[in-house]
Amino acid sequence: MMATALRAVVLLSAGIDPVSGRPAPVGTEIRAIGLARALGARAIGLHAGLPVPVLREYAGYGLADIVCLDGAGADPVTALARAILSGGLFAEGPVDLVLAGRRASGGADSGLLPYAVAERLGWPIVADVAAAQRATPAGPSPELEIEQARPRGARRTARVAGPCVLSVHEVAACVPDFVFAQARAAVLRTMPAGIDGSPPLAGGAEERAYRRRPRLIAAAAQASGGRVLVDPAPQDAARAIIDHLRALGVLPPPAGS
């Protein structure tokens, strides 16, 4: 039986490149597009704000259609949730899946927005997705099997049913190819967000240029002062390496100790 294609919305932000500070797509959101493609979903980009040039670059990674919500600045969460629930995005039916990067890069970067949208939609959210596949081939509420990325290459499998929100992790391998022809051909539609009021004043938090501060470091880091063994016997060299690795904690202690 042929699976019906999922209808996915990819949340797009106007990111900036951390190194240069120039407008740039956010890596996790690019992977979100890739995840939508990996799931065989029909995907629409959704951006809470006016069309900005960087959205075209997202389109190059595989979005033919991007919807911009004009006037969403006052309350982007409400605007996004309304647009997702409105039924106006896909002609074929409601949205099955919302994909986002785990954290934006260029705004507050709190990583809260996908959660807030999920809360508003009343949908479950699974964060830090490294890979996903459909657990059930078809059906009205598709079930997804998700690989959640955890530090040091660890993974956790999670199953989530029904319409849901996924936030995609940096280690997700589903980076789509950038195609210039797609970027220039994409349609950027603007829809009114239907939110009253003006953007909230940037009160609360004061902002200034980032200051790099030293981090606490593990004591073992300062212990190694560049010890050099010149031409040792191979057995002594092996012992020295093993002891050093044990002292660093990267090599487990010998079996039976």
Partner: protein
């Protein structure tokens, strides 16, 4: 002349410098000049060295702190204070500061302890008490939370596989406790929980806080190019290695009953399984914690692979080796290959071309086995063995095999 002792910030900074090289690093946990006891202002001074000594792990010929944070079993040193006799009680706190730790394996880890240290900063300024929330079903924890800085232990079961259920449990407990601040570790799971709680309660959340004092919290924003400063909010997650763990006299860690209505089992919309550790032999090089790499000085790749397997490491290689087809392209370390995020990098027969060293971006510890004493890799290494890698590898393989019996 005022007669006041003058500080020399440069000298203090220099005294805190650890490690040499292109990026000087500073250990702010270290007191300038190593003073302890009573400082010039007359206030009692912390002795972070002694605090560190308390975390020392026995064995090995160089000092090592328990990275997992379960230490505190180190041998008494001459400079270490006498074993703690007194426990600080906090009977009538003005407010509560809640910490929701990760408790991997049911114990406080390094970041959990730092979060407790941060909570202490906020609580002390407001005569409040630090409450550790969670930990039900982890008997080891009881003895550990007081020394780590918690006045209270609100035993709540947060071990569910359903993140929504855990968040609901935390929300219910917080509603009952009405804390002034709630601190989470900014780990993957901790930040996930914090964001769920923030989204559910609508409370403000500052994630990835890097500087925390009683008056202000600072976190990076706008792709790390700017930073936000505000008064410490209700909810925050603390970035790793930014605030020192609590190292004062032990707190009480007294159980605190939470008068929260039981949380009904959730709809079970998310069913998560247990964490699976990665197989080092096949895992993604960029995520691997321990990488062992072969360069031009390696000719026997079957031997190399057996050494890598014996070390439970992830194999890597230099460009020359990948170009020759001796190792797959995915194993290439360097600017044009993979940039590592490993804790340790062991390089066999790699001289260390600039392009290759760029691939060691964030690697903390480098071990080099190389015939050339003047190789760039040797300059970068914490331990260097100046010898033929082809002769060291068999010895290493045999030594590891002998240990495993």
């Amino acid at each position: 002349m005022t007669g006041r002792p003058r500080r020399d910030p440069r000298a203090e900074r220099a005294a805190r410098q650890v490690g040499l090289g292109a990026r000087p690093r500073f250990d702010l946990a270290q007191p300038p000049g190593g003073l302890s006891g009573i400082g010039p202002s007359g206030r009692p001074r912390r002795d972070p060295r002694a605090e560190q000594a308390a975390l020392l792990v026995p064995g090995g010929d160089r000092p090592r702190l328990a990275r997992g944070g379960t230490g505190g079993i180190g041998p008494a040193r001459a400079s270490a204070p006498a074993p703690v006799a007194r426990v600080i009680r906090m009977d009538d706190p003005a407010c509560l500061v809640v910490v929701v730790p990760d408790l991997p394996d049911g114990r406080l880890d390094r970041l959990d302890r730092q979060v407790l240290g941060a909570a202490r900063v906020l609580a002390d300024a407001a005569s409040g008490a630090v409450v550790l929330l969670g930990g039900a079903g982890t008997p080891d924890l009881m003895a550990d939370v007081g020394p780590a800085g918690a006045d209270r232990l609100a035993l709540v079961d947060l071990a569910s596989d359903d993140p929504e259920y855990r968040a609901a449990t935390v929300c219910a407990a917080l509603a009952a406790l009405s804390p002034r601040h709630v601190l989470f570790p900014d780990s993957d799971d901790g930040a996930d929980l914090a964001r769920r709680v923030a989204a559910h309660t609508g409370q403000g959340l500052m994630t990835g806080v890097e500087v925390l004092t009683a008056r202000q919290a600072i976190r990076p924003s706008r792709a790390g190019r700017r930073e936000q400063i505000s008064a410490p909010p209700m909810l925050l997650t603390l970035a790793p290695d930014r605030v020192a763990p609590y190292a004062g006299e032990a707190r009480e860690g007294r159980p605190l009953p939470v008068d929260a209505p039981p949380v009904p089992p959730g709809a079970g919309r998310i069913r998560a399984s247990a964490l699976r550790a990665a197989d080092p032999a096949t895992m993604n090089l960029a995520e691997a914690p321990f990488v062992v790499a072969a360069g031009n000085g390696v000719t026997d790749f079957a031997l190399f692979r057996s050494v890598v397997a014996g070390l439970h490491a992830t194999p890597g290689a230099s460009r020359v080796v990948c170009d020759a087809g001796s190792m797959p392209r995915a194993a290439q370390v360097g600017a044009s290959g993979t940039v590592l995020d490993a804790v340790c990098y062991l390089a066999f027969g790699i001289a260390g071309a600039p392009q290759h060293l760029q691939g060691l971006g964030r690697v903390e510890h480098v071990v080099a086995v190389n015939t050339d004493l003047h190789a760039a890799m040797v300059a970068r290494a914490g331990l260097s063995v100046i010898a033929d890698a082809q002769r060291v590898m068999p010895a290493l393989r045999d030594a590891l095999a002998a240990e495993d019996g």
